[in-house]
């Protein structure tokens, strides 16, 4: 058992001394299985301080399971294995529930998609927000209330005093998500994990919330791991992107590099699926990816995308090499660099 995650004690850990310039979050070869289903099949990623890393993919690709595995919140029956899982240089693979819950909400905070289900309907906003601080830091109530009011103001909520006394159902969706963000910030976290934080919101509110997150990140130097299905959101706020398909990261790289020169047929396919005002003429078909996401049995070998890929060939059923595709840009595909555009994504559904 590791020593506890108490901040002062941590630097003194012998075997686990955090490196000076360690990444905020390092995940290497993470695998998650639920019974006979492989949900995450060996993914690696890093989140640096002050950086937004987006994990993007369609439903069922394992992106949420990845974030839950990192936080030690897997549902019963979920098994996690990893070669490395380190937070600020400290290995947290063997942390028990007590040590993890000391990290969560404190140095590692979370925001989920639907704030209505993650806020307790029976308690006021104020009591839920102050609980975090009182529990992790033992802060006196009055001081915790001041901090909560200050943070509500910072996330753009007018009349924070009034909001603290209200229950979640009395707030709009956008306000609830702001409350969630403020709550996540109560203990000055270093890492924020946000799972589809704006998916349930109207577009205008989505833009406001994302602006807010970006502003707070700049101000506080937070590292953010953002899980989303929306490539528009990714393009606008990510520093780095990992594209997930069927439990694997099939392509990753700096945002401008990845969007400028997407290499994996799946990434390219996804990009042609999105209607962009002024790009595709009305009534001209959008690009689409035929077929559906397959179920991957354990022990599966080869590219999971090959049945839907118009460029699949014999090699795709063997081991797939991860090759460099540019500065910091990697792709899990047998196709050579600069393979031609071809007909990818212009086929009818």
């Amino acid at each position: 058992m590791m020593p506890s995650g108490d901040r002062s004690a941590e630097s003194g850990e012998g075997l686990n001394r955090p490196a000076e310039n360690a990444s905020l979050l390092e995940v290497e070869n993470l695998r998650v299985t639920f019974g006979g289903t492989a949900a995450v099949r060996g993914i690696s990623l890093k989140v640096e301080k002050g950086e937004t890393h987006c994990l993007v993919g369609e439903s069922g690709c394992g992106k949420s399971v990845t974030s839950l595995a990192v936080m030690g919140l897997l549902a019963r029956g979920g098994k996690r294995e990893a070669e490395r899982l380190a937070f600020a240089g400290t290995d947290i693979r063997n942390y028990g529930e007590r040590e993890m819950s000391r990290l969560r909400g404190d140095r590692m905070a979370m925001i989920f998609q639907e704030p209505m289900t993650s806020l307790n309907p029976a308690y006021t906003v104020g009591s839920q927000m102050t609980e975090v601080l009182r529990r992790h830091r033992g802060t006196p109530r009055a001081q915790a209330v001041d901090r909560a009011a200050e943070l509500l103001g910072r996330v753009g909520i007018t009349a924070p005093g009034l909001r603290l006394g209200q229950y979640p159902h009395q707030l709009s969706g956008g306000l609830r998500q702001r409350v969630m963000i403020a709550m996540a910030l109560m203990c000055d976290p270093e890492l924020l994990i946000a799972d589809e934080p704006t998916t349930a919101l109207d577009v205008t509110v989505q833009a406001q919330i994302l602006r807010l997150l970006a502003g707070i990140q700049k101000e506080l130097g937070l590292g953010i791991l953002l899980i989303t299905h929306d490539l528009g959101v990714v393009a606008r706020i990510a520093d780095r992107v990992s594209v997930m398909y069927a439990g694997e990261v099939v392509e990753s790289g700096p945002t401008a590099e990845l969007f400028g020169d997407p290499q994996h047929p799946y990434t390219r396919g996804l990009l042609t699926c999105i209607p962009v005002p002024g790009k595709v003429k009305r009534d001209e078909p959008l690009g689409s990816i035929p077929g559906i996401v397959p179920r991957i049995p354990p022990g599966y070998v080869g590219c999971a995308f090959r049945d839907r890929c118009p460029h699949a060939h014999a090699e795709c059923s063997g081991e797939i090499p991860r090759r460099a595709a540019g500065p910091g840009h990697e792709v899990l595909c047998t196709l050579p660099a600069g393979w031609p555009e071809g007909r990818m994504g212009r086929q009818a559904a």
Binding site: E58, Q208, A235, V276, G287, A349
Partner: protein
């Protein structure tokens, strides 16, 4: 085929009475407030707006699922209120957002698709079987898939079932209420392509409701922007996207996050006041959020000013 618009709506209004507590007096929620428009046959009217703007209430009234409090709906030149249910079903059909809850989980796909035909009461079993088959193949589903239950299909396949059911009576008009919002982007593209293909082949008219402006821009020939129960701007699609006049339309357009890195997240310029349909502001209903509001806006409701093929409701457009 008559020359009448496929859908015409005149002074449509719907009021809900909502009780907020056991003893509190019911409050009035005006979900749709004096809305009028016409959709020419063969075109696609996109209706956009945020949640709570009344777009789904509007769709339900046009489908005849909800009686209007005032005003009337004409479909193919005939009053909807004077049509019987069977005639209405042959003319206009819905496709809803969530293919997980809009299909009966205990019935097989082919029985779900057959339902509108069976409800007509006058069609032979052989004819029903033939038309179900035809409808399934039109949306790209196999006979074998017709024997399955909805739970055995993916989200995209379920939405195809919903479309097959809508088309089986060969209607002229389909009302699509957020048809792709519950789907992944790759599946959304498949369904949008299918809807476009069907419209061309069958000469359908769509009322297409969505919160996603990029999707609406892709499918609609005309667009109506709704805000708190009213259409605040409408125009031909190209004109509306090229030259939005209402500040709300502009804010909506600014909020679209296209996959273009380096542009950052736009400042949409709206405050954090949220629209509340139970408490519609006086004057222009958009004024508490409007970045361009001036002294007239909270006092006086703007008039409808013609603009291109459509209109706009904004004091700034009146003076311009």
């Amino acid at each position: 085929m008559s020359g009448a618009p496929a859908i015409e709506v005149r002074g449509l209004r719907r009021v809900f009475h909502v009780r907020q507590g056991l003893f509190a007096p019911p409050r009035q929620v005006v979900a749709v407030d004096d809305v009028s428009f016409a959709v020419p046959a063969g075109s696609v009217l996109g209706v956009v707006g945020e949640s709570g703007c009344g777009k789904s209430t509007l769709a339900r009234m046009i489908l005849g699922l909800l009686p209007p409090s005032a005003g009337e709906v004409l479909v193919d030149g005939r009053r909807l209120s004077e049509m019987d249910r069977r005639a209405r079903a042959r003319l206009i059909q819905p496709v809803f957002q969530d293919p997980f809850s809009s299909l009966n989980p205990r019935r097989r796909v082919r029985d779900i698709v057959a339902m509108p035909l069976v409800a007509q009461g006058s069609i032979s079993r052989a004819e029903i079987a033939r038309r179900v088959e035809e409808s399934l193949s039109r949306v790209g589903l196999s006979t074998e898939q017709g024997t399955r239950f909805p739970s055995q299909l993916s989200g995209g396949q379920r939405q195809r079932v919903a479309i097959a059911r809508a088309l089986v009576l060969r209607p002229r008009i389909v009302v699509c209420d957020e048809p792709t919002s519950a789907l992944d982007v790759s599946v959304q593209a498949q369904i949008l392509n299918l809807l476009a293909e069907l419209r061309r082949e069958l000469g359908l008219t769509y009322l297409f409701i969505s919160h996603n402006l990029a999707v609406v821009e892709h499918v609609a020939s005309e667009v109506a922007v709704m805000y708190l129960g009213r259409i605040v701007e409408t125009n031909e699609s190209e004109a509306l996207f090229a030259e939005p006049r209402h500040p709300y339309t502009r804010a909506l357009l600014a909020s679209v996050l296209t996959p273009e890195p380096g542009l950052g997240v736009p400042d949409v310029g709206l405050g954090d006041t949220m629209p509340d349909p139970a408490n519609i502001p006086g004057g222009c209903r958009f004024h508490p959020r409007c970045p361009l509001a001036f002294e007239r806006c909270p006092v006086e409701a703007p008039r409808t000013t013609p603009n291109g093929a459509g209109f706009v409701e904004c004091h700034l457009a009146e003076t311009a």
